[in-house]
């Protein structure tokens, strides 16, 4: 058993997430891509990605996520996938399905793509379509058929929030109709665009309870035919999540421009720099960089984490959430009931539950669009 503060050699980054691009045809209000994504147009070339993949495999990475933005907008996706397959990765494409034609799917299959996770990325602008089974359902059923025809397992993901949670019965029904073998109902996590839109997106306790009951009923009905995962929202539970399975323990994220991060959103943390894969090898980055070492293990902890009996289980929760809500990346995650800042989470849940129509009109949803991104980015740099 590891003692608090002790340093052990970290294991391999088993899960490598390649965010190939921030370009995306959708405008989801809960996207975790950085607010200023539109200012980050630089993307690694095919050859650079191939080198990153090779270095990752040498470190022991086994799972590769091909993500974005929408990874299908990169026309070298097949080349990257083929190289990943040759290296021995299990390759996962995380997509909205927009742009996945039968021809493209066949090419990806031939490249060795192992799995497609199809998201119902209802961007809320299309909420009516989404809920009325029309446009979204047509697209998703077309893509679902393409996925099935290639023999890939049918894995679906839906981000859940206050505006769609009451329709969870219909959402699960849709997934069942499309032949999903695995369905992930992922409660929104409040970073980036979702944090900006938090008052609109946070469900109430009652909504969550009802959604869990509905999910359980579907589980009983579907049995083994469709496995449903309900990803609990940490804002409501009072227990922090073991974020990315522990900082620098399993997960290595490479952004479109080649920045290596220990989690999707770590770039927001102050006083910490993250290396570029263009300047350093993944091995140096994983084992030696300050960015990856800072919050490894438990040695960095303060009270109440440093003496908490659960510190090895949750590892203090999420550093980004601690920074966003407690203004201190080394604080306990305010999602935790023991955090002195836990009231900020509770207040957010209460405020969301009591949001009036007028307030919602005064503070409209902010869509993940390049124009909004540029406007907010310039705003942020003025403040900074």
């Amino acid at each position: 058993m590891q003692q608090p503060g002790s340093k052990t050699t970290p294991g391999p980054p088993l899960w490598l997430l390649a965010e190939l691009t921030y370009r995306c045809p959708l405008h989801c209000v809960f996207c975790y891509n950085p607010i200023d994504f539109a200012r980050q147009e630089d993307e690694l070339t095919t050859d650079e990605w191939v080198r990153v993949l090779r270095e990752g495999r040498e470190l022991g990475a086994v799972q590769l996520g091909l993500s974005g933005g929408e990874p299908l907008v990169r026309d070298d996706l097949e080349t990257i996938t083929a190289e990943a397959h040759r290296l021995g990765y299990y390759t996962n494409l995380l997509t909205s399905g927009v742009g996945l034609t039968a021809a493209r799917a066949a090419a990806l299959k031939a490249s060795g793509l192992d799995h497609v996770q199809l998201s119902f990325q209802d961007s809320t602008k299309e909420m009516n379509d989404f809920l009325s089974h029309t446009k979204t359902f047509d697209l998703k059923s077309r893509v679902a058929k393409i996925i099935k025809d290639q023999g890939w397992p049918m894995v679906m993901n839906v981000v859940i929030h206050r505006m769609n949670i009451d329709h969870i019965d219909r959402i699960i029904g849709m997934a069942a109709e499309l032949g999903a073998e695995y369905l992930e109902l992922a409660n929104t996590q409040y970073y980036s665009w979702a944090f900006l839109n938090r008052d609109h997106l946070l469900p109430t306790h009652e909504q969550l309870k009802q959604a869990e009951r509905t999910t359980d009923a579907w589980r009983a009905r579907m049995g083994d035919r469709m496995r449903i995962f309900f990803v609990a929202p940490d804002y409501h539970e009072g227990t922090p999540k073991r974020c990315v399975n522990g900082w620098g323990s399993t997960f290595l994220n490479v952004t479109p421009d080649g920045t290596a991060l220990p989690c999707h959103t770590a770039k927001m943390l102050p006083g910490l720099s993250f290396p570029s894969v263009r300047a350093q090898s993944l091995r140096e980055i994983w084992f030696e960089s300050e960015g990856f070492n800072r919050y490894r293990g438990t040695g960095w902890m303060k009270e109440p984490c440093s003496t908490c009996e659960f510190r090895e289980q949750d590892l203090g929760g999420c550093r980004c959430q601690a920074y966003m809500l407690a203004n201190d990346p080394a604080a306990a995650d305010p999602a935790c009931i023991k955090s002195p800042h836990h009231h900020r989470v509770q207040e957010a849940v209460e405020r969301a539950g009591s949001m009036t129509q007028t307030q919602a009109v005064e503070h409209p949803l902010v869509f993940r669009e390049p124009a909004n991104s540029r406007r907010l980015a310039s705003h942020l740099s003025e403040e900074g």
Binding site: L14, H115, P153
Partner: protein, 91 residues
């Protein structure tokens, strides 16, 4: 599902991939966004599940490889469990 018989020929389940990982010094089973790290006996059984060999053949190969006997019951129990987890399938 009925427990697998000694004459059936299991193979690695659809969507799963079995491979040796030097970094972990073990066989691992990969599936969408996940991984099972197998212990030595699990790895030795799984790598023989190719849809060609019967469970009986797998048992006798293992008994030979490890100079022992009476492995049938343990191997069947593992294969039964692996089938329930969809790690193994039967055509």
């Amino acid at each position: 599902m009925t427990p697998p018989g000694i004459d059936t020929r299991p193979r690695v389940g659809t969507g799963f991939r079995l491979q040796w990982e030097p970094a972990q010094n073990s066989h691992v089973l990969l599936y969408p966004e996940g991984m099972v790290k197998l212990n030595q006996s699990g790895g030795e059984i799984m790598k023989r599940c190719d849809g060609e060999r019967s469970v009986a053949v797998i048992v006798s190969e293992l008994e030979q490889a490890f100079s022992t006997e009476g492995l049938g019951k343990d191997v069947l129990a593992f294969i039964d469990m692996a089938g329930k987890q969809r790690w193994l399938a039967w055509d």
